[in-house]
Every structure is written in structure tokens, then in C-alpha cells.
């Protein structure tokens, strides 16, 4: 910890955490307000959630010029990754709440949903910013526990199963995380990253590797990467659409930034980049191959996010070895969040869960079809969408950092991923005459889907879809303007 921070008062430190405080206050207010409102008229709590998130975004924006530093005795970084992660995470949650507006309106647990989302968002923010293993553990729990409840909120058998699965895996990998932290703490005699860096320098590499694996297992759970990925497709299919969009986007961002910080801390005696590279290769390959046979679009997106986590681990693996690593990670995170939310927004707007139901969508709602084309091609990495720039730069970073083989694996996986995204896209442009046959063959549709069929397109999610679709294209074109803001160093280094 440097001298500048030592003299800083506690008040200033709390001001630095204004975005986090906004979320906490928002969650509590939403919960309290919700308990005074009738069960079927809790929409005002949505406004509270939106205001809290806007407050967090704005306060992050105003704090941009402060420069990079650490607060709370070096346990929390205020630097480029924290700032960008705050912006991406809060914007993503904001979009998710908007896209869920129609789905959640009038539902009996509306206020709880917003409160839990805000708390889980807070957990992801702390994960992204922390420089201390113990706070990482707290953030892990803060991000996870609301998630279990959110997934189970749907109250369907599928939701219950998904919640149980997520809970068991989260609890198990949470213990692995704590175990890993214990080992690293025992080796270094401290839990903060700057002390870890010094303390681990002479520690036996086998022990460091064991500790690292434990911590990475926990982070992989949040990132939805191998080996902590099993819950993602189930939860994505079983939970509500808004919750599915949330859980495939927000926790990932916090976890990957946390992984980047951790990897920058470890000494060279452990080949951590190789471990990450293997996890990355496994994630993208398993995610892609499992997505091949899916006909439920939410399950398909769930598996696709597992593979995306794999691509996102590429810059993490070369943390510190390439100048491009950090900016490309941050850019890809934002790009991924936008594209993924765009795709989920189309699912929410149409209410269709099966690939077959999308037949003829291009004729029924050309705008939504357009957004889906743009979002899915973006997830593939077709220029000029945002993820293309993300993929290009992460590939360059990976090769630059000496992991050329991983880049080749990632490129091959990208080709493979095209296959299942196209399976979803292609029917949209075909005639609607087969639609009846297609829906009959699938499971009986839920009341939700029927509502989607008869009412047509839902307004809120459609707006979010068009907005994110536009940003997905525009983001790729103006990438050069955003890029300088992403370049920076970790405050803890």
C-alpha cells in the first residue's frame, strides 16, 4: 500500500465506493418499498432499481478522472478495470431489468427480483474490484446467494431443479474457493494481493498451484466456465427470461476481471497461464459441442455463454504478457454483454423458447429478426459487430502472449459455433407454413409463450433488443473511440 492512500480518510474511501453504495441502497429500498405495496402492484420498485443503477453508472462516470488508486488499505482497486467493469455490469443489469419489465410486471415477487438482482450485481462489482482474497470470497457469496433465489423464483419444476443444481455446484465450488484461499493465505501469510505477490515468491510451486486451482474453481463457477459450467444451461432454460439474461451476463463480467487481477498477482513459478489456457480451450470446446444439438434457444444460449467464457479466458491467460490483454478483455466483456442481452431481449420480446417457433419471424417482426441476426453474428464474431473487434484483439493478445495454439483452437471453435447459431437464424427467413408442425413436436407451451404468440411482440424487451442491436453494430464501428479508455494498468501493481 502506498503512502498516498495511507493518509486518506475513511469518508473519502466511502465516496470512492459510491456506485456500490447506490446498489446496496437501491436493493434495500426496493425490498422495503415492496413489502408495503400490494403483491400485484409492485412496479414502483422497478423505478427504484433503475434509479439505483443509473446512479451507479453516473457516479462511476464522474469518478473517471480520479486516476488509479487503491482504497481500504489496498483491498479494493479504483482503476481502469474496476471503472469499466462497473459501467458494463450496471448497464447490463439496467438493460436486463428493462427487458424483464413486461415479464415481471404484476408477478408476485417483482420487488424481490429487483432487490436480488441489485445485490447480485453488487457482488459482481466487488468481485471485479477487489484486491483481497477474503473479500473475493465475500463477493462470491454476495453474487451467488441471490442468484440461487432468482433462479428458483420461477417456481416451475425446471426452475426448482436448476436452482438446486446451481446451489449445490455453487456451494461445492465455493468451498473449493475457500480452501484455495486458505492454502494461499497459509503460504503467503496474507490475503491481500500486494502481500501475496511478495509472500508467494519463495513458496513451493505445487502448493501455490493447489491454492490457485481452488480459487479458479470458484471463479469458474461465476464465469460459467469449465469446470463450473454445469449450472448455466439448466438455469438459463429453467429461470425466467430476464433472470436468464442476467445470470449469463453479469456474474461472468465480475468473475473474469477478478481472474485477471489474480493472474497478474501470481509469481512465475506456477504456470498459471497454461492452467487458464486449458480451461479456456475446454470451455469453448465443450460449450460449442453441447450447443450443437439444442433446440431450446435459452439452453442454446446457455451453452453458447460457456463457450464465450472460453474465449474470454484467452486474454486472462496472457495477463501481463501482452499489452493488448487488458483492453481486449474489457472490450470483449462489454461486447459480449451487449450481444448476449440483445439475443435474450429477442427471446423475451417474442416469448418463443424453441428454435422452430422462430420460423418466419423475419416476416412477422423484421426488426426483431434483424436484431437477432446482428446479435448472433456478433456472438460468432462477424465484422463489423462489437464481438468481432473483441475476438480480433483477444486473438492478437493470445498469440502475442505466446499462446498461438490456443488462438488456433479458438478460431476452430468459432467456425464450429457458427453451426448452431445458424440453426437458429436460418428458420427465421423461411416461410411460416411449417410452424404448426414445429410447435406441435415440442413440449406443450407455457402460458407465457401463448401470450407471446397472441399478443405479439412485447414492447419493453423489443425496445431493449433494438437498442442493443444498434449498439452491437455501432460499437464495432466506433471501437477506436472507446479503446483509449480501456487501456490502463491495475492499481494494485
Amino acid at each position: 500500500m502506498d503512502a498516498v492512500n495511507a493518509g486518506m480518510s475513511m469518508e473519502a474511501d466511502f465516496a470512492a465506493l459510491l456506485p456500490e453504495l447506490f446498489l446496496l441502497a437501491g436493493a434495500v429500498t426496493a425490498l422495503l418499498t415492496g413489502s408495503f405495496l400490494p403483491r400485484d402492484r409492485q412496479s414502483p420498485t422497478r423505478l427504484i432499481g433503475i434509479i439505483a443503477l443509473l446512479g451507479a453508472v453516473v457516479s462511476t462516470g464522474t469518478g473517471l478522472s480520479a486516476g488509479s488508486r487503491t482504497v481500504f488499505e489496498g483491498s479494493f482497486s479504483l482503476d481502469t478495470p474496476t471503472t469499466i467493469a462497473r459501467l458494463i455490469i450496471c448497464t447490463a443489469t439496467l438493460l436486463v431489468i428493462c427487458l424483464g419489465a413486461d415479464e415481471l410486471r404484476g408477478s408476485p415477487r417483482e420487488s424481490e427480483t429487483y432487490a436480488l438482482m441489485l445485490l447480485s450485481t453488487l457482488g459482481a462489482l466487488v468481485m471485479a474490484g477487489t484486491d483481497d482474497l477474503l473479500i473475493l470470497a465475500v463477493a462470491y457469496l454476495l453474487a451467488s446467494i441471490p442468484l440461487y433465489a432468482l433462479i428458483g423464483m420461477g417456481r416451475s419444476p425446471r426452475a426448482a431443479e436448476a436452482a438446486l443444481k446451481t446451489y449445490l455446484l455453487g456451494a461445492f465450488l465455493g468451498i473449493a474457493l475457500l480452501l484455495g484461499i486458505t492454502i494461499l493465505y497459509a503460504l503467503a501469510g496474507a490475503s491481500s494481493y500486494d502481500q501475496l505477490r511478495a509472500g508467494l515468491a519463495d513458496a513451493p510451486s505445487g502448493a501455490i498451484a493447489a491454492g490457485l486451482l481452488g480459487v479458479l474453481a470458484g471463479i469458474a463457477f461465476k464465469a460459467g466456465a469449465v469446470p463450473g459450467h454445469f449450472w448455466v444451461p439448466d438455469a438459463s432454460q429453467g429461470a425466467g427470461v430476464a433472470v436468464a439474461a442476467f445470470l449469463t451476463t453479469v456474474p461472468k463480467i465480475g468473475a473474469l476481471v477478478a481472474a485477471y487481477r489474480l493472474l497478474s498477482t501470481l509469481p512465475d513459478s506456477v504456470d498459471a497461464p497454461l492452467v487458464i489456457a486449458v480451461l479456456a480451450a475446454a470451455s469453448m470446446t465443450i460449450g460449442n459441442f453441447a450447443a450443437f444439438s439444442q433446440t431450446n434457444v435459452r439452453r442454446l444460449l446457455g451453452w453458447s455463454t460457456v463457450s464465450q467464457a472460453g474465449y474470454l479466458l484467452v486474454p486472462v491467460a496472457v495477463a501481463g504478457a501482452s499489452d493488448l490483454a487488458l483492453p481486449s478483455l474489457l472490450f470483449y466483456l462489454g461486447a459480449y454483454a451487449l450481444s448476449n442481452i440483445g439475443a435474450f431481449a429477442v427471446v423475451a420480446a417474442t416469448g418463443h423458447d424453441e428454435v422452430g417457433q422462430y420460423r418466419g419471424l423475419a416476416r412477422r417482426s423484421p426488426w426483431l429478426a434483424g436484431v437477432l441476426v446482428v446479435s448472433l453474428l456478433s456472438l460468432v464474431g462477424t465484422p463489423p459487430t462489437v464481438v468481432f473487434v473483441g475476438k480480433l484483439t483477444t486473438f492478437a493478445a493470445g498469440w502475442d502472449g505466446g499462446l498461438a495454439w490456443l488462438v488456433v483452437v479458438a478460431a476452430l471453435n468459432t467456425v464450429a459455433s457458427l453451426f448452431y447459431y445458424l440453426r437458429w437464424l436460418a428458420p427465421m427467413f423461411q416461410g411460416a407454413e411449417f410452424q404448426r408442425a414445429a410447435t406441435e413436436s415440442t413440449e406443450p407451451s407455457t402460458p407465457d409463450q401463448q401470450a407471446g404468440d397472441t399478443v405479439g411482440v412485447r414492447r419493453w424487451p423489443a425496445t431493449v433488443a433494438v437498442l442493443s442491436g444498434g449498439l452491437v453494430v455501432a460499437g464495432g464501428v466506433v471501437a477506436g473511440l472507446v479503446w483509449p479508455a480501456l487501456e490502463g494498468t491495475l492499481a494494485g501493481l
Binding site: L324, P327, P366, L377, T382, P383, P384, F388, V389, L392, T393, F395, A396, W399, D400, V407, V408, A411, L412, T414, V415, L418, F419, L422, A426, F429, Q430, A479, G480, W483, P484, E487
Partner: protein
């Protein structure tokens, strides 16, 4: 000006796609009008073209895009790209005219083809690798929707195969581009700078891998043996105008990449591996011709002759790099021939595919055995098909002859054993004569009975393409004066 040429079709496409109330007839004529304006604009470019200094480009425009990774919006034209820009404008105009009579969803079709036109023009004008890749990928996306949306037969499967296969190629290309970027100093994606510095020249191993990735990408796109398997199904199931664009323009993106990217930026690696490229070229020539000879389906046959014709191009650019040959003049001749062949093949094959499309529109099949005696029933069709067939087999007086003569004169001069590919010309002649005989002569049989002759829109789209081929064949100077200096620059760069 150049940006206007590139983006005018896209702007028109956006208007057509977004405004829902446009009547079909307006959409079709708007498409024709925009492509006609494009032809005029490219003609203006051609008229105003002044040869830039060695390695430079004319009508240059550069705007920073992602400065931190050394990528910019950088476009420009030289003797390599201008003929192909002109070809693109002409072929797309022919397609627009040809489609005037079509009834199947004209508004989205017009929008899609205009989008495709922007992406093709963009590839030829790009002077930045990322920009090149961007347009290259968009052309694949556009063509996928053309085949999947307006194709027939097993269109969805063919379109998927096309997309997956060529997307694999484009990612190989991207890896190669990243390799060029990482080894350049200072790091850049700028094509002009990379051609100047040839960053991988002192590094044969890395240079070999990067060239391998780029060659794989371009070979799939071209396509050369053994990466051609996506081509026949894609062509067979694509709509006629889709096939015309696919064969006329999209295949050129691959061969253009050889002379624009692989040769100037990786000269040492190119010289090391030139013999492989020559062999692949010879095999493509012979294999394409032999398989084409065995086809009974006219469209598949033309598709395989494309493999054959692109094989000549690959052979020529390979021969230009073989280290043993020191005859600069012969190599320049080979590269000039390769570029002429690209233009020539684009014109002739686009015309042939449009003619094949007429068969299907009238009779519902491409099977040559289902027809006979078309010459007496449909004289206009017969004349144009015969002209197209003779042009394609390389009859003197047509552009194909000029191109193939130069290719062989140059390639054999530099590398004598490229003469192995000469039987390809014979085979192509045989197969086209056979096809002409089966379709046009003999009794009027089966589907040929009651065959409606070409309509005005069809004559006006196919005729000019063949006329241009004839013009180039008779007066090649204007084209060659543009190409020769550019070919000399390429040979100079690859020989350094």
C-alpha cells in the same frame, strides 16, 4: 469518391430494407438504377485513374478506426483492383437487369444484392487487412442469405456448407492477418505499409505458417483443389443471379488475395512455397476439367470449369514466384494473364450461369439430357450460349484466349513443367463443345418443346457481359495498360 462508390449500394440497401411500403416494381427498378449509377461512377474512376507511384494507390482515403491496433479505414485503387471494381459493377448491373422480371420477394432481394455489392467493392478497394477481412466476411454472410433465401433444391444445406466452409477459410485468413500484424514493426494492419516492409521475410518458419494460414483461407475461397467441395452444391442450389455473383465476383476475392496480400507481404515465404502453389494450380486445372467433363448437370459443369479456370490463375501466380525462373518478363506476363483471367472469367461465367438459370426457370431442371435442339426453338438462347461456351473454352477473339495465352506463355517461360496443365485447355474445349451439342443441336426433345426464348431483360443482362468479353478479346490494350504496370510491381515485390 471511392467511398461513395463503395457505400452507395449499402445506403440504397438500407433504404430498401427499412422502408416497408416500397412497392416491388420500385424496388426492382431502384436496384437497376443504383447499379447503373455504380457502373458510371466506376467508369469515372477509371477515366480519372492516374498510375500511382510504385506501391502506392490512387483515390486514397484514410480515416483512423482503431488506432491502437494500427487499423484504419484505408481504401484506394491501383491496377490490380480497378479492373475488378469495374467487373463487380458490371456483373451486379447484369444481375439487377436479369432480375427485373422476378417475382420472389424483390424488395429484400434487391437490398441483399446491394449489400453484397458494397461488400465486394469494399474487398477490392480495402488497403487495410481488417477492413479487407470485414468486407470479405460480409460477402460470405450476404451470399449465405442469397442461397438460403432464394435458392432451390437443397438450398438450406448447401448454404450452410458454403457458410461453414468459407467461414473456416476466413478465420484462417484472420489468423494469418494477426500473424502479419504481430511481426510487423511498428505493428500495423495497413496493407500498403505491410507490402513495403514485408515483416516476415527474415523468418522462414513463422513466415511459412502465416503464409499457410493465408493460403488456406484464399484457397478455400478461390477454390482450388482439394478445397473446392463447397462450390458445386452452392452453385447448383443458388438462384441464377446468386451463382453469377458467386462465380463472377466472390471467387475473385480469393485470387485477388494472392496478388494483393500473399505475394507482396510474404515474398520470401511465397518464393519458398511457390512450387506447391504451382502444383495445386496444375491439379486444379486438370481435376476441374476432368470432373466437369463427367457432369450431366449443366450448372455443376460450369461450377467445375470455374475450378479449372481459377486453377490457371493459381498456376500463374505460383509460377511467378518459383525461385529458379529468373525471367522477369515471363513472370510479369504470367501475373498479367492471371489478372486478365479474373476479369475474363468473371464476365463469361456470370453470363453462363445466367443462361443456366434460364433453363431452370423455363424447364425446372439443369439436366443436359432433358434438352435437345434448343437452337431451333430458342435461337437467341442458342446464340448466346454458343458464344459463352466458345468464350469460356478460350477461342481467340475473346478475353479468355488473351488471358490463358498470357498465363501459359509466362508460366512456361518461367517454369517449363507448367506445360503439364495444357491438356486442361483441350478438356475444357471438349466439354463445352459436348454441352453445346447436347443442348442446342439434334431433335427438339422433352423439355425443349415449347421452350420460350430469352426475354428482353435476359438478353440485355447476358449479352453485354459476352460483348465485353469480346471487346477485351479484340481490343485488350486499355485493360492491359492498366494491369501490366501493376503486375510488374507485384513481380518486383515478390522477387525482392
Amino acid at each position: 469518391m471511392l467511398s461513395l462508390v463503395i457505400f452507395l449500394p449499402l445506403a440504397a440497401a438500407l433504404v430498401l430494407a427499412v422502408v416497408p411500403g416500397i412497392p416491388d416494381a420500385v424496388a426492382r427498378w431502384a436496384w437497376v438504377a443504383v447499379t447503373a449509377v455504380e457502373v458510371v461512377l466506376v467508369a469515372v474512376l477509371w477515366a480519372g485513374f492516374e498510375r500511382p507511384g510504385d506501391g502506392g494507390v490512387a483515390f486514397e482515403e484514410q480515416v483512423a478506426w482503431i488506432p491502437t491496433v494500427g487499423s484504419s479505414y484505408h481504401v484506394g485503387v491501383d491496377g490490380l483492383s480497378l479492373p475488378l471494381l469495374a467487373l463487380t459493377a458490371v456483373v451486379f448491373l447484369a444481375c439487377a437487369v436479369h432480375a427485373v422480371a422476378e417475382r420472389d420477394r424483390p424488395r429484400p432481394q434487391s437490398a441483399l444484392f446491394l449489400f453484397l455489392q458494397t461488400s465486394c467493392l469494399g474487398v477490392f478497394a480495402a488497403q487495410d487487412l481488417i477492413l479487407f477481412f470485414l468486407f470479405f466476411d460480409l460477402s460470405i454472410v450476404g451470399m449465405y442469405f442469397v442461397i438460403a433465401g432464394w435458392g432451390h433444391g437443397n438450398a438450406a444445406a448447401s448454404a450452410l456448407k458454403f457458410f461453414l466452409y468459407t467461414f473456416l477459410g476466413s478465420l484462417a485468413l484472420l489468423l494469418g492477418f494477426i500473424g502479419l500484424y504481430l511481426f510487423s514493426e511498428p505493428r500495423t494492419f495497413d496493407m500498403v505499409e505491410l507490402a513495403e516492409s514485408a515483416p516476415l521475410d527474415g523468418n522462414p518458419v513463422a513466415g511459412g505458417f502465416v503464409l499457410g494460414a493465408i493460403l488456406l483461407g484464399l484457397a478455400i475461397k478461390t477454390p482450388t483443389f482439394p478445397f473446392h467441395t463447397w462450390l458445386p452444391p452452392a452453385h447448383t442450389d443458388a438462384p441464377a443471379i446468386g451463382s453469377a455473383v458467386l462465380a463472377g465476383i466472390l471467387l475473385k476475392l480469393g485470387t485477388y488475395g494472392f496478388v494483393r496480400i500473399a505475394m507482396p507481404m510474404l515474398p520470401a515465404a511465397w518464393r519458398d512455397w511457390a512450387w506447391v502453389i504451382v502444383v495445386v494450380g496444375i491439379v486444379s486445372v486438370l481435376y476441374g476439367a476432368l470432373v466437369a467433363l463427367a457432369q450431366t448437370d449443366l450448372k455443376r459443369m460450369i461450377a467445375y470449369t470455374s475450378v479449372n479456370h481459377m486453377g490457371y490463375v493459381v498456376l500463374a501466380v505460383g509460377a511467378a514466384g518459383v525461385a529458379g525462373g529468373t525471367d522477369t518478363q515471363a513472370r510479369e506476363l504470367a501475373v498479367t494473364g492471371a489478372l486478365t483471367q479474373m476479369v475474363s472469367h468473371g464476365l463469361i461465367t456470370a453470363a453462363l450461369f445466367l443462361l443456366a438459370g434460364v433453363l431452370r426457370a423455363r424447364a425446372g431442371t439443369y439436366h443436359m439430357s432433358a434438352f435437345g435442339g434448343l437452337a431451333s426453338v430458342a435461337p437467341r438462347f442458342a446464340v448466346l450460349f454458343a458464344v459463352g461456351a466458345f468464350a469460356s473454352l478460350g477461342l481467340p477473339g475473346f478475353s479468355g484466349f488473351i488471358a490463358e495465352f498470357q498465363i501459359f506463355a509466362g508460366a512456361i517461360g518461367a517454369v517449363p513443367w507448367t506445360a503439364l496443365a495444357l491438356p486442361g485447355i483441350l478438356l475444357t474445349a471438349a466439354l463445352f463443345l459436348l454441352a453445346t451439342q447436347r443442348l442446342l443441336t439434334g431433335e427438339v426433345r422433352e423439355k425443349a418443346v415449347g421452350f420460350t426464348d430469352l426475354r428482353a431483360s435476359e438478353v440485355l443482362s447476358i449479352g453485354p457481359l459476352l460483348l465485353l468479353s469480346l471487346l477485351i478479346g479484340v481490343f485488350p490494350r486499355p485493360l492491359l495498360e492498366l494491369i501490366e504496370p501493376a503486375a510488374a510491381v507485384v513481380v518486383d515485390l515478390v522477387g525482392r
